[in-house]
């Protein structure tokens, strides 16, 4: 399947590599292709530059946001939450029309220091997932994978034999089922993909970031996830 990924950070790269491994055809989208390919500085988290990463991941295509949006039969939003709507507007509503947009971003607000809270206007009574759905009413937004470290998104079996949960929400059941198929390919079992209903569910999963960050600060490591005991 042709998949476009909006964003070239650690999360986008992790998803892109895995999708290529799974024989999908992947194009990542960025604001300025020439600048991105010429970048040599590590990012704020110490990850290698895109050009360094790209040397060993050259089956991934690179294009503008609009080109990646147009390319994808399914599009993934892997931008920072604070930039997501802007990046998706540059991607273009027409390039997203009648397509599934998998939103894995979180509206983290770093303006008050660490740990981040959630961005004003995108928390509690709204969410990034809902905001994107409202901005692109002809797109089927599916929120998932946003409650964990990216290494687990594409390899849940890294811990606890994969027996921990990933939430999914969105207004369109058929779209969620298609996304579940990709999640299955990543290693998620059906019983651990928990459907929490329409896109308002994004409020609930994005609200898990504060406890996720607290647990990470205790664990000193992102390789953990939540399981539901019943």
């Amino acid at each position: 399947m042709k998949i476009g990924i909006i964003g070239t950070g650690a999360v986008g790269r992790t998803i892109a590599s895995k999708l290529v491994e799974l024989k999908h055809d992947v194009m990542m989208g960025t604001r300025d292709v020439t600048e991105k390919l010429g970048s040599t500085a590590k990012d704020a988290y110490g990850n290698p530059s895109f050009s360094e990463w790209y040397k060993t991941n050259n089956k991934v295509k690179l294009g503008t946001f609009a080109e990646a949006g147009s390319f994808g039969e399914i599009v993934v939003n892997a931008t920072h939450g604070g930039s997501s709507v802007t990046a998706l507007l540059l991607t273009g509503a027409k390039n997203l029309t009648k397509k599934i947009l998998i939103d894995i971003a979180n509206p983290l607000d770093f303006s008050n220091g660490m740990p981040p809270g959630l961005l004003p206007g995108l928390n509690n009574t709204n969410s990034l997932g809902e905001e994107i759905q409202k901005t692109f009413p002809d797109t089927m937004v599916v929120k998932t994978l946003n409650t964990m470290w990216c290494g687990l998104m594409i390899n849940p079996k890294l811990i606890g034999n994969g027996d921990h949960v990933n939430f999914i929400s969105g207004n369109n059941t058929e779209a969620k089922n298609k996304v579940k198929t990709i999640l299955n390919q990543f290693g998620w079992s059906d019983e651990n993909i928990i459907d929490i209903g329409d896109i308002k569910g994004a409020r609930a999963t994005e609200s898990m970031l504060p406890i996720w960050l607290k647990v990470m600060s205790v664990m000193k490591n992102g390789a953990f996830n939540f399981k539901i005991v019943k």
Copy 2:
């Protein structure tokens, strides 16, 4: 130990019964003792009236908020989050001075229908736990147990052999250690009591309510909790 409980709803009753079973001396506080003892109507959740419950739980003392606050060496806030500060002001700062206040309430906002969000001003960049700590600076507020159904608070072994998590936060380490002793009595193992630091941790645990409510709506049952897989 003498323990005061502010609030007489299902959560307060559950905690009170368990503390009596553990041989603690318990007084519950309410706004109007005569009215509470005379009540015969079930509450909004279908729980029996207080007077009905009290027939089989008469080792628990009943007093005003202030009397219960004065009585307790440790005080528990088991009111609805929207009423907590008001109820604690009626309890009286002097009755809470230099005492541990265990805050198990959540600032749920039912004004926009179900499921509730969190109350304006008490979410994201603030929390009920912090608001109480700011209002009563001479009290040691410890936030815990607010991320689960009350039946599990006092009996974690009801599911999964008790192997699931309870978060604790507060500014005073000694106070948290005393609360941990009570949590141990409830059946919580030390390794499943996760200390997430100062009272700002209340932002993180109160923010878990939206996902808790979503999972409950999927499970059709409150007898579940989160475990951390690593």
